[in-house]
């Protein structure tokens, strides 16, 4: 009796699982990226820096249509999670964060570098100016003129009051950016 009850319950659970999967399958085709639209907080001021992720910001003024202007993917692209390629096209890592200054200008990209299947990667802050974004819209990758050995020698990025050392590309050596002034 008890076993039969269990089996019925289990069958029910299995059916629920299958239904859940069907739901997922049904939802899946709907995911498509709409053209990002930015909402400007102050339309009359100097051109506001485009949101790094190109995602709509929810603001109080959404009802006033003149504050909305289209931002096409050729103008701006999301950078979080994009691959960073080295000079020879090798995979270096992924952009996981962007460090900005008080004016909101990007100063450094935090790159998760190396590892295998997620084991053993390190985070390193790279001077924003050392990154080449020209291929971002086309290939979805960012280029960096440092090879793996040079990046491996860079200090690890640690968020928090200790500060972050940023690394620059060798052709244009600039003093390390102190992002925490």
């Amino acid at each position: 009796m008890a076993a039969a009850g269990c089996r019925n319950a289990l069958t029910g659970a299995a059916v629920a699982l299958v239904l859940g999967l069907l739901c997922v399958a049904a939802f899946a085709p709907q995911c498509s990226a709409a053209t990002p639209v930015t909402v400007q907080a102050q339309p009359e001021s100097s051109p506001a820096p485009a949101s790094n992720e190109g995602q709509p910001k929810t603001g109080a003024q959404t009802k006033t249509i003149e504050n909305v202007e289209p931002l096409s993917s050729s103008d701006a692209t999301a950078v979080l999670g994009k691959k960073v390629k080295g000079p020879n096209g090798e995979d270096l890592g992924l952009i996981v964060d962007v460090l900005v200054d008080a004016d909101g200008r990007p100063r450094a990209a935090v790159i998760d570098f190396g590892g295998f299947l997620g084991v053993g990667s390190r985070k390193i802050a790279i001077d924003w100016k050392a990154l080449d974004f020209t291929a971002l819209g086309r290939a979805g990758t960012v280029e960096l003129g440092l090879d793996r050995a040079q990046i491996a020698a860079a200090p690890e990025y640690k968020p928090g009051p200790l500060g972050a050392a940023a690394v620059t590309a060798p052709p244009a050596p600039a003093p390390p950016v102190d992002t925490h002034r």
Binding site: A3, C6, R7, L10, A13, A14, L17, G20, L21, V24, A25, F27, A28, C31, E53, A78, L80, G81, K83, D91, L94, V96, D97, D112, F113, G114, G115, F116, L117, G118, V119, G120, S121, R122, D147, R148, A149, A152, E156, K158
Partner: protein, 408 residues
Amino acid sequence: MSVALAKSRSDRDEAAPAAHGLDGLNLFVANIQTGFGPFISVYLTTQGWTQTGIGTALSLGTIVAMASQIPAGALVDAIRSKAMVALLSILAFSASALLLALRPTALWVYAAEALHGFSSCTLGPAIAAMSLALVGQAMLGPRLGRNARFASIGNGIGAALMGACGYYVSERAVFFLTAAVTLPAIISLLPLARLRDPAMLPVSSSGTHPTRARASISSLLTNRALVIFALCAMLFTLGNSAMLPLAGNTLTKEAGNFASLLIAGCIIVPQLVVAAISPTIGKLAEQRGRRLVLLIGFCTLPVRGMLFATLVNPAALVLIQALDGIAAACVGILVPLVASDVAGRSGRYNLSMGFIGLAIGVGATISTALAGWIADAAGAPTAYICLALVGLAAVLLAFNAMPETRPP
């Protein structure tokens, strides 16, 4: 006499496909679990997730897994057909791999993590219970050795396959592959479903059916051997689980262009060792006792920590990882074996597994946080030494307090 012979032969004929099924099940499940490892954070990063979001999702998975250990164990005890439990758990793995691949948005990823966390807690005990049902208490040690061998082959193949898939195809493809591997896992389960209920549970010596005389939970959780073993396993994991990520981090820093390959080596070398030695370890546990095997496994940890702390040669790190294989084989076999010694006949086998699993989960969670904090504050060598000291504490506790649980 001839009747008895014929019966034993038919038993064997029936047991052979089931034994192979169990082999396959261990292999494919380990394969699947590789996909749910730390790679999830790489994948979510490529999907534009922030580090905070990824941390939340992974913590959710950990919390669900820890909170479900004991209830899931009790649930598996209560369900007669362990093959059904295994089937549902594997289906849940398929669902959560597909969710991750198709809908990497917050709600669905949380759902996938929770689903995977819970079903991991039901699948492990179910596999152990089917092993016990298949071979009986007396032959459980060698059978668990065989389980460990196939699981480690699955882990090794999984790491190579998923690593290649993530590198050459796409991060998302890893989760489609993971979902695909659930199919052969389910097929391996088929011959096990034919095991009849009386065989699913060991019959105690007096002949009474154990489910009818289920031991009380409190008597189980005050069982000295079980509690000491869980504490030992927790201390060991506390010292062990941060060792590989820390070594990987050192490699990424020191080894330049070959770092990823060497880290792959650090993951795969222990699996090769487990595959090679675990049947021997299983026999050793049966013939010479659990205490000896426990002490052998635990002793490798302080040695490994001290070697990591003193040697910086990247190739040496990969070789030292062989010690991890010895420890993994010993601990991997002993967890279900000691649980069976303590509770195999009480109808609380899976609950005991859940209890030990919870202790291990707590140790693993603290380990990563602790080692990360020490490495940040005082450097990786200090972190290795601290982990080695925790390992030494596990050895001392096991040596002084752990009783021999092998049935006479």
